[in-house]
């Protein structure tokens, strides 16, 4: 758990206080999008496994120690070491990135206008949900599920970077859409597999699939 252990053998950090962990932290400071463990490892000339351990350590530090190192617990009462920091390190959309802690949203929101996007309308949310669960999917199919034309909503979602073009359907030539990594970031999940299950919301599902497929208009 000692940071010093990571210093050995890596010329770039040798003798620099904080060592590999601090170096990783320094890199995290300049990211403008989530970085994968592989990217971080390559940049720092560490193994992916080493980076993973360091990331977990940083994440725990930022969240405040509560379990290990009893002597820290004592020191912690004075502030550092036990109470969480104002920011957190999260693994989202396949990469790691620093975020301000949600508890301070109201205060941070006074300073940061960017990224504070307007709420999506019900129509936009439903369209986004269908695309997220059925991707890649054409507008026609989304329309069929929602029962209304979705052209303008799809355009808005694309402009907001939540969905993108995913090529065309070989059969119909229709443009297919999928969600973006920005969507994953906004949802706080690392992949679409992290979306809540759709099936519990489908009671009496037996037989629906055949109707569904018959229903591509």
């Amino acid at each position: 758990m000692s940071t010093a252990g990571h210093d050995d053998g890596h010329a770039a950090f040798q003798g620099v206080p904080g060592g590999a962990k601090a170096a990783l932290e320094a890199v995290l400071m300049v990211l403008d999008q989530p970085a994968t463990e592989e990217e971080l490892a390559a940049g720092l000339e560490l193994t992916v496994e080493e980076v993973r351990v360091l990331l977990a350590e940083l994440q725990a530090e930022y969240n405040g120690y509560t379990d290990k190192a009893p002597e820290r617990e004592q020191a912690g009462t004075a502030g550092l070491g036990s109470s969480p920091r104002g920011f957190e390190l999260r693994n989202i959309a396949g990469g790691w990135r620093i975020y301000s802690r949600a508890a301070f949203a109201d205060i941070v929101g006074k300073y940061v206008l960017e990224g504070q996007t307007a709420r999506l309308t019900q129509a936009a949310l439903e369209t986004l949900a269908v695309i997220a669960y059925r991707q890649p999917v054409s507008r026609a199919r989304v329309s069929a599920i929602r029962g209304v034309n979705v052209d303008s909503v799809v355009r808005t979602l694309a402009q907001r970077g939540l969905i993108e073009d995913a090529g065309t359907d070989p059969e119909s030539g229709a443009i297919l859409y999928r969600t973006t990594s920005y969507f994953l970031e906004r949802m706080g999940i690392s992949s679409v597999a992290g979306l809540p299950q759709l099936s519990p919301h489908l009671p009496g599902l037996e037989g629906i699939a055949e109707f569904y497929d018959a229903d591509t208009m």
Binding site: I98, A105, V130, R186
Partner: protein
């Protein structure tokens, strides 16, 4: 969600589509979606479509038509329920049962998406309380960036701008008909047939207008054709009561309408 509101007040603008409206009505009557008492929601559904049409132009035809398709299905189902039990023997009855199951399946599917959309909305809002660190590159790093390669003339740049600014023609919503094989039926052609027939005799019922249809496809094409005619204000619909036959009146003059009016999107054969 509408389901949780004690006093259910329908404001059409609140509904994002026909399924949403149907779900709202079902919730209002506290019905189980799988055993919808069709009769109790059909009339209301029709009423809302009327109100919706009264709202005027803001509803595009393709939206209204989806409402109409569902209304028609509901009406058929309601009619079927009036049949004495146990008489589901004919092909028509079986088709009705299939239509019902299809409608329920679509409704259930929509309901599921509506629910997960609600969850997604909550998640997006919660996640919106975290702000990513996204700061400008520190100056000394920015200064290290390789010098920009700039290879084009102002004219080339202008051409690029022209292309980027050119309004992109919206690709029409494709109607996936790849699964439909068999004979080809043209909506335009059917609109012409209906137009000529209605100009000779009006009103006619939808039943009469489709009595000679050799296949379901032709019935569908004529239904679509009627919607087209309706949009062009060439016909009006009239129904004495929700269960009565649908009467179609010709409202355009003799030469005011021709099948050429039928929009491009139907030129391809159904």
């Amino acid at each position: 969600m509408a389901e949780t509101k004690p006093a259910f007040e329908v404001r059409l603008a609140n509904f994002t589509g026909p399924f949403d409206l149907l779900l709202g009505l079902i919730a209002k009557h506290q019905l189980d979606i799988t055993e919808v008492a069709i009769a109790s929601v059909t009339d209301e559904f029709i009423k809302y479509i009327r109100a919706l049409q009264d709202l005027g132009e803001e509803w595009a035809l393709d939206e209204a038509s989806e409402f109409l398709v569902i209304a028609a299905t509901l009406l058929d189902l309601k009619a079927a329920r009036l049949l004495p039990a146990g008489e589901v023997e004919s092909d028509e009855d079986i088709a009705l049962l299939e239509a019902r199951d299809l409608l329920f399946a679509r409704l259930l599917q929509y309901k599921a998406f509506k629910q997960v959309a609600g969850l997604m909305g909550e998640t997006l809002q919660q996640e919106g309380r975290r702000f990513p660190r996204q700061v400008a590159l520190e100056e000394h790093f920015a200064a290290m960036l390789p010098d920009l390669v700039w290879k084009h003339t102002p004219e080339q740049f202008a051409a690029l701008a022209a292309a980027a600014l050119e309004p992109k023609a919206p690709r029409p919503t494709e109607v996936g008909l790849g699964h439909l094989h068999g004979g080809t039926v043209s909506v335009k052609e059917q609109a012409g047939i209906l137009g000529r027939r209605l100009q000779q005799e009006s009103p006619l019922t939808f039943r009469a207008l489709t009595s000679d249809a050799e296949s379901t496809l032709v019935v569908v094409a004529r239904f679509l054709a009627l919607l087209e005619l309706y949009r062009d204000r060439a016909v009006a619909f009239d129904q004495v009561s929700p269960l009565a036959d649908l009467a179609i009146h010709w409202t355009a003059g003799e030469r005011e309408w021709s099948e050429e009016n039928v929009s491009e999107e139907y030129e391809e054969q159904v």
